[in-house]
């Protein structure tokens, strides 16, 4: 009850204050801009409804990019984490590069990728995977390394092979950590998608925001952001749900 009631109340209060400030013209005066540039929540909601098919069409494009990009990040991230855990050489060699990969400014790399791979989905997948794989790698690797050393000793005397040690002890220990990483990744995936679409695309929520920026369609921009947030929340919720199903011992 409280889990739903409290955020709903807070959101309602914030929207109410915004509605008041926008409809009385207070916000526009404060920013020193014309009234139509400061949409109220009610205007955003009606824009959401009026543009539902346009938003749905572009949301589908972005959702696909996010899902595939995120899936790539999970596969590559888990693969990297396991390899870095199993091989010290691999860990020493790649950890600095993994961290450095996060310093690549997406605004710089995105246009280059568009030039290389064209306007299709491929450069978007790459960018979304680039921002998502980092939290997954770091969290999973920390999880794999958090295994209780006494448990390792016990399993060794219980005749566990390297693979059995991994399967029965290390992987289950790391699993909740991996889910945490995936949840962080889910929340930032839409940011990657928007940047990727800005660099070059002909559809998607990021593309739509960019178009509306030139058209001063601020209400629709906010409506688009709301849809983008809903996608992030949905993905986050889905992962939390899977986690609750899989990690039953916590």
């Amino acid at each position: 009850m409280r889990r739903w009631l409290l955020p709903t109340l807070l959101l309602a209060a914030l929207l109410g204050a915004w509605q008041l400030a926008a409809s009385t013209g207070l916000m526009a005066t404060f920013f020193g801009v014309p009234d139509f540039l400061v949409p109220s929540p009610a205007e955003i909601a009606s824009s959401l409804w009026e543009n539902r098919s346009l938003l749905a069409e572009n949301a589908w494009v972005t959702l696909r990019e996010i899902l595939f990009g995120f899936a790539c990040a999970v596969v590559v991230g888990l693969g990297f984490a396991v390899a870095m855990h199993l091989s010290e050489t691999m860990r020493y060699a790649t950890y600095p590069l993994v961290v450095a990969s996060q310093t690549i400014p997406i605004l710089v790399i995105a246009p280059i990728l568009i030039i290389w791979f064209g306007f299709g989905i491929l450069p978007k997948l790459f960018i979304i995977a680039l921002v998502c794989f980092f939290p997954i790698v770091v969290a999973t690797l920390d999880g794999l390394r958090s295994v209780d050393p006494a448990a390792i000793k016990m399993l060794r005397t219980l005749d566990a092979s390297r693979w059995q040690m991994f399967r029965r002890l290390e992987a289950p220990t790391a699993l909740p950590f991996a889910f945490s990483g995936a949840k962080i990744a889910a929340a930032i995936a839409p940011i990657g998608a928007v940047f990727a679409e800005w660099a070059g695309s002909s559809a998607g929520l990021g593309w739509l925001i960019q178009q509306d920026s030139g058209l001063y369609e601020t209400a629709r921009q906010f409506a688009t952001v709301a849809v983008l947030s809903a996608i992030a929340l949905g993905l986050f919720g889905l992962i939390a749900l899977i986690e609750r199903r899989v990690v039953t011992w916590r």
Binding site: M154, L155, A160
Partner: protein
């Protein structure tokens, strides 16, 4: 000899943990090891089990120095049951590791649940069990592994006093029906004297044996009577004295 240790030495870098230690245990004999904290008792167990290799001296279990990991079952202080497995699957872990199918491994472990007072808890998660029960599941797992040597590292230290006494009595009974060679590391002189045939008092680091005591009533059926017996009390005082002097 089931366990034979001669001139054993070990150090972690500059820190010498064990120095010229000799110890022998015959088959089905239980040896208690008591000593001050951080004296290298646990290191000694890890060496015997093959989790560590000695820096000096020789060490053999059941006549061989190689392959010790395969002949020893190590049971640490905390029960360390894996929370993602049921009690039964935890107990069957060693059998599964050896390549037995799940059904077969479960059946073999389940056969012991009744005898260990765990009947009906096969499918329970470790978190649902009491401390004593968890320790019994862990112990069952090491027994099912069928190793000739049990290395117990303060197995009951995490339990409350009453449960600990019950578990000692229970372990005495379990070793009576299913005898093994046992190395028992503990802080508790009384526990060592009750469960072991002989008790070695170790010095502070680097560990050496400073006293050897023969227990008067090893694993007696009536624990309370055994530990309050004057002969037991006298030897306990002797051990405590050796510990203080060391």
């Amino acid at each position: 000899m089931s366990v034979s240790i001669r001139g054993l030495g070990h150090s972690y870098g500059e820190l010498r943990t064990i120095d010229r230690l000799d110890l022998e245990a015959s088959e089905h004999e239980a040896i208690g090891l008591v000593g001050p904290s951080g004296c290298g008792k646990s290191t000694l167990l890890e060496l015997v089990c093959g989790l560590l290799e000695p820096g000096a001296g020789t060490l053999s279990v059941a006549g061989e120095s190689g392959g010790r990991l395969g002949r020893c079952a190590y049971m640490p202080q905390r029960d360390l049951l894996l929370p993602w497995y049921s009690a039964l699957d935890n107990a069957a872990l060693a059998l599964r590791n050896r390549g037995l199918g799940r059904t077969e491994a479960r059946a073999r472990a389940a056969a012991l649940f009744e005898r260990f007072g765990l009947a009906g808890f096969e499918r329970a998660a470790p978190a649902e069990l009491s401390g004593g029960m968890r320790q019994r599941v862990a112990f069952l797992g090491t027994l099912v592994a069928g190793k000739p040597l049990l290395a117990l590292d303060e197995p009951f230290a995490a339990l409350d006093a009453i449960t600990r006494a019950e578990m000692q009595e229970w372990l005495a009974g379990a070793l009576g029906t299913d005898p093994r060679t046992v190395l028992l590391v503990t802080h508790d002189v009384e526990e060592a004297l009750y469960l072991s045939d002989r008790v070695m008092v170790l010095s502070a680091r680097p560990a050496r044996i400073v006293a050897e005591l023969r227990a008067p009533h090893p694993r007696a059926a009536d624990r309370d009577a055994a530990v309050t017996d004057p002969a037991f009390v006298a030897i306990r005082e002797q051990a405590l004295h050796a510990l203080r002097r060391r």
